[in-house]
Amino acid sequence: MRKVLGSVLILTGCAAAGYLLCAARRRRLQCLEALAAAVTAMEAELAGRAAPIPELAATLSERFDGPAGAFFRLLLSKLDRLGETPLYKLWSEAVRETLTDLTPDERAALCELGASLGRYPLDMQRQALALCRNALSDAAAAARRKEAEERRLIWAFSTASGVLLLILLL
């Protein structure tokens, strides 16, 4: 009875590890997609009505859930320090603190966008937004392609490692 219970626990543990790995990849994908959508929304708001950054952050924090929403909420709360700390630093802090699922390159693309926002003419800001949106969309497309392959691999690996562990222990 104990052996059966132990086997079930080992298999469940390995499957859970596989599930968590898959979930982390899915979270990153969702985060990238939401951020690409948020950057598109920023482009529209800037092009349409030259919205000020605090207003933009407030609008997007309400419109988006998950890490993208959390990012804009944190940025909005940090804007109290404007003047003492420049926007690009506040933006980078918010990127580092909320978007932990992203790779360093993806975070760097977002930080680069922060350096252009607010200070330069609108057309330059829109160029920076387009660059960032493309980088995020490309990363999301690559992550989507990889996710299907990796999901199968992770499940296979986690199940196989569970079975291997059972054989070794029994």
């Binding site: 030259a50 919205a51 950054i53 605090p54 404007l82 003047g83 003492e84 926007l87 200070r119 003419p121």
Partner: protein
């Protein structure tokens, strides 16, 4: 928070600490110039309030705070050399980009944070004459920084509270004190903010059925054209212009034209500064 506190809150921290609230009662402007020490302008003149030399970073800090890190959102007014926040008008100087480019500056050189005031009672003595002339035209005259806008604001409030329907064109938010409408302009005042003066005057005339239209600073031909339009409509005009007296106005072709048309029959000349400021009525003719 009063206008002085709002202006000070835009400065870098060490400059903020160097200024006391005591300075606020007489402060007219805070001035930051790249490569120079910052100064406070009052009726006693311009005095340095911190020994630390102002850098372009300090100017950017003020502008970033004032615009909410959104210079693009104030590009229109920045192109005209100023931006407004919380009733504080910030005059901007520096090197502009080439013509036709988005209204940005290549480099910022200096900033003048003008502190608006509400001086209740300054129009009291002249009020009967202004009321008598409410259906005609009254000009408020002084050189730049002489207190025209403060006096105009007080006239609007008094005439409005006295039962006159006043419509005010507030292109630079200086009359109202910003979008928060920090200043009381009277119970019967309709305000059109952020719109080109000449355009605003025509809109107010058509849409708000005013008895008196108030506008700050007649400076361009378009303003003069708008004044002409009002003149024949039985609506009074209260406006300000840069000049020490009607005689001095004649030196400028635009104002000469304005005087020749006899739209304004009364002038209030502001003389002196600070507590020694005097308001003198003069007939134009």
């Amino acid at each position: 928070m009063d206008a002085y506190a709002r202006a000070v809150s835009l400065l870098p921290e060490d400059y903020r600490q160097a200024l006391s609230m005591r300075d606020g009662s007489r402060a007219e402007e805070l001035r930051l110039r790249r490569g120079r020490r910052p100064t406070l302008l009052s009726d006693a003149g311009e005095r340095v309030f911190s020994e630390r030399i102002c850098t372009e970073k300090d100017l950017l800090c003020v502008l970033e705070k004032a615009s909410g890190a959104s210079l693009h959102a104030v590009a229109d007014t920045l192109r005209q050399g100023y931006l407004c926040t919380g009733g504080v008008r910030i005059g901007v100087c520096g090197t502009l980009r080439g013509e036709g480019a988005e209204g940005g500056f290549l480099r910022f050189g200096s900033l003048a944070l003008r502190i608006p005031r509400e001086c209740r009672g300054i129009a009291r003595e002249l009020l009967p004459a202004l009321r008598d002339n409410a259906r005609g035209g009254t000009l408020i005259l002084s050189p730049p920084g002489g207190g025209k806008t403060t006096f105009l604001r007080e006239c609007i409030r008094c005439l409005s509270d006295g039962g006159l329907r006043v419509a005010a064109a507030d292109e630079r938010y200086e009359l109202s004190g910003g979008e928060e409408e920090a200043f009381d302009l009277g119970g019967l005042t309709d305000l059109l903010c952020g719109c080109d003066k000449a355009q605003a005057v025509m809109l107010l005339l058509r849409c708000m059925n005013p008895q008196l239209i108030a506008m700050d600073e007649i400076t361009r031909r378009q303003d003069l054209d708008a004044v002409r339009e009002i003149a024949g409509c039985g609506v009074g005009i209260l406006a300000s212009a840069h000049a020490a007296s009607p005689e001095q106005m004649r030196a400028r072709p635009l104002y000469r034209e304005l005087l020749r048309e006899e739209i304004f029959s009364l002038a209030v000349c502001i003389e002196g500064s600070g507590e020694k400021r005097r308001y003198r009525l003069q007939a134009i003719g």
